[in-house]
């Protein structure tokens, strides 16, 4: 679905943040992107959804250079849940979720019958139906994140990109969010690409992990294949013990 080829990227002529990234995302994958702060995770998402343009290399979306696609075309395929979602005004939940219909409606059409259903489904799937009349800025962090995911789902995307969807959430809400995402991945076959900071959570929910450091992919592949004691020490500079098998988890050593 997405091919990232030798991508080099830097902001405004500064030092490169991405140093030659190669990545292949297949349909139905659920990929976690892990790496220390400043390793270029968010920047990689930006390049892959076409809001940032690489200095060198290309990003192909379903075989076409993403730079040749109009924003609306991209938005019909890729939905992004950004890390920050500041709103200028008091919007109600339903209004925010309806924004996801933007790429599907012509400028001068005022009705969107398919859209109504997509919006209702998205709110149902994310469990925010009862919140529809609430002001988004007055919701809890977990509820708010669900609304943002609902907006992304209302876009009816093939690929869902999330930038730290569990940031600032407690473990209960983090798991709710990840369950929700996983369910969409399994039921609708939406390809998921998510930046995560919690290794355990990534290991629990993702099929594949890409480990990033200094703008380079250190390792990519299945969870047990990538999250080894050696690679984690190399990337995060901490000593850990990995307990494999069904109860996969990572224990941080003193």
């Amino acid at each position: 679905m997405i091919r990232v080829k030798e991508v080099v990227f830097g902001y405004n002529g500064g030092a490169p943040v991405l140093n030659g990234i190669d990545l292949r995302v297949r349909k139905g994958d659920m990929i976690g992107i892990l790496g220390p702060n400043g390793s270029g995770k968010s920047t990689l998402i930006g390049n892959m959804c076409g809001t940032l343009h690489p200095r060198h290399g290309t990003v192909l979306l379903e075989g076409r250079d993403i730079r040749s696609l109009r924003r609306k075309e991209i938005a019909r395929k890729i939905a992004v849940v950004p890390q920050k979602s500041d709103l200028g005004f008091d919007y109600r939940v339903e209004e925010i979720v309806s924004m996801g219909r933007y790429p599907h409606i012509g400028r001068f059409s005022f009705r969107d019958p398919d859209g109504r259903k997509a919006v209702e489904d998205a709110m149902e799937q994310t469990g925010v139906l009862e919140l529809r009349e609430k002001i988004v800025d007055r919701l809890s962090g977990g509820e708010r994140q669900r609304v943002m995911i609902a907006r992304a789902l209302a876009q009816e995307p093939r690929i869902l990109m999330l930038d730290e969807p569990t940031k600032n959430l407690d473990i209960r809400h983090s798991m709710d969010i990840m369950d929700l995402i996983r369910k969409r991945n399994e039921k609708q076959g939406i390809t998921v690409l998510s930046v995560l900071h919690d290794l355990d959570l990534a290991a629990k929910y993702c099929d594949e992990i890409a480990l990033l450091k200094n703008g380079k992919i250190v390792a990519v592949g299945g969870v047990e294949e990538v999250l080894t004691e050696r690679s984690i020490e190399k990337v995060f500079d901490i000593k850990v013990r990995v307990h494999g098998g069904r109860g996969f988890h990572i224990e941080v050593m003193g």
Partner: protein
């Protein structure tokens, strides 16, 4: 207000607008009554001039009612003085409010006013420049140049702010806002200097700049109305884009908005709508700030509804402000003073209100 519903709000706004039009025509140095107003208005339609003269209505069953001619001057007062003022106030109110609502959405900032990005400062500069250039010239030349220069400088200032804030192929909105504020400050100072040094008698100039819809002529409405109607229609169609911008430029892109193109279109239309009012009505501040704000409380932030609602309420609001301006005291108070006064108080209220999201 939620219980009334959005449909109810719109019906209320339309009724409010109609009432304010009628009241606007009715109240003045001489208060006019509805039958006179209706006859005056009818007499303005082609071929219906008899409505102003005396006539007899014959009904069924031999019922007859006789109407004497309208009192002297009423026809002129209704058709050529009050109606144009009310219609102009209506369009200017619509223009400034829609422009304000759009710019607030675009800049994701509820404290933006169409005049903050330099439109009024540019307009005032052009106006005073025209006054100086046409000193001693005939009134028509001076009028024409005032309209032309204040419009050109209004639009020119926004364009200049746009160029100044452009980095590469992008125009970050925060830079644009700052450039507008900076240009406004410089132009205002330059205008004051021109008035101070070069204008022989500054009183009428200063009064004109204070903003007023009084003595509007129909041809002026002919210029202002099409721009504002077109702008309102097109910006209404950009409601979804503006919603997306309210979630931030980055999110707007994710949602599929061609941000640079939408931004340019919205900016150009919103500026034109505000700039076209400056040559004819001077600087009528704060309307573009207040009206969208009040409407947001009633119908929420969804720009698809906010723009038409702001248009309706803005029209009614400015008609009422103009009415207050011309009937509060014996002399007509400049409209800009009324809106500025209300706006200033409103601004303080906003600052003090807990729900302000800056």
């Amino acid at each position: 207000m939620r219980t009334v519903g959005r449909r109810g709000t719109f019906i209320f706004l339309i009724i409010l607008l109609l009432i304010s039009i009628l009241v606007g025509i009715s109240i003045g140095p001489e208060n006019l009554y509805l039958p006179h107003i209706v006859r005056g208005l009818i007499s303005g339609l082609p071929g219906l001039d008899w409505a102003a003269r005396g006539f007899t209505l014959k009904g069924p069953l031999g019922l007859e009612s006789h109407f004497g001619p309208l009192p002297r001057g009423y026809q002129t007062i209704i058709l050529d003085i009050r109606l144009p003022v009310v219609v102009m106030a209506l369009f200017v109110g619509v223009g400034l409010s829609v422009s304000g609502a759009s710019l607030q959405g675009l800049f994701k900032n509820p404290l933006v006013d169409p005049f903050i990005i330099g439109i009024s400062a540019g307009g005032a500069f052009g106006y005073v420049l025209a006054v100086i250039l046409t000193e001693g010239a005939s009134i028509w030349i001076s009028q024409f140049l005032k309209v032309l220069l204040s419009f050109l400088f209004s639009v020119g200032t926004v364009f200049m702010a746009y160029l100044l804030s452009r980095t590469g192929s992008k125009v970050p909105l925060t830079y644009l806002l700052l450039a507008g504020v900076a240009l406004s400050a410089s132009l205002t100072a330059a205008t004051q200097m021109m008035v101070y040094l070069s204008v022989e008698n500054p009183t009428p100039v200063i009064f004109s700049l204070m903003g007023s819809c009084s003595l509007t002529k129909w041809w002026e409405i002919g210029i202002v109305a099409p721009v504002i109607l077109m702008g309102t229609l097109v910006l209404s169609a950009f409601g979804r884009d503006l919603n997306a911008f309210s979630a931030g430029e980055e999110t707007a892109k994710h949602l599929g908005v061609d941000t640079e193109r939408s931004k340019t279109t919205i900016l150009v239309l919103a500026s034109l709508m505000a700039a076209i009012t400056v040559p004819f009505c001077g600087m009528i501040g704060f309307v573009g700030l207040m009206v969208p704000h009040i409407m947001r409380r009633f119908i929420g932030s969804d720009q698809r509804l906010l723009i038409p609602a702001s248009a309706l309420f803005g029209g009614a609001f400015l008609i009422i402000c103009d009415l207050v301006a011309r009937s509060l005291l014996d002399v007509t108070i400049p409209l800009g003073i009324i809106t500025g006064l209300l706006g200033g108080i409103f601004f303080i209220y906003l600052l003090k209100a807990k729900r302000v999201g800056v």
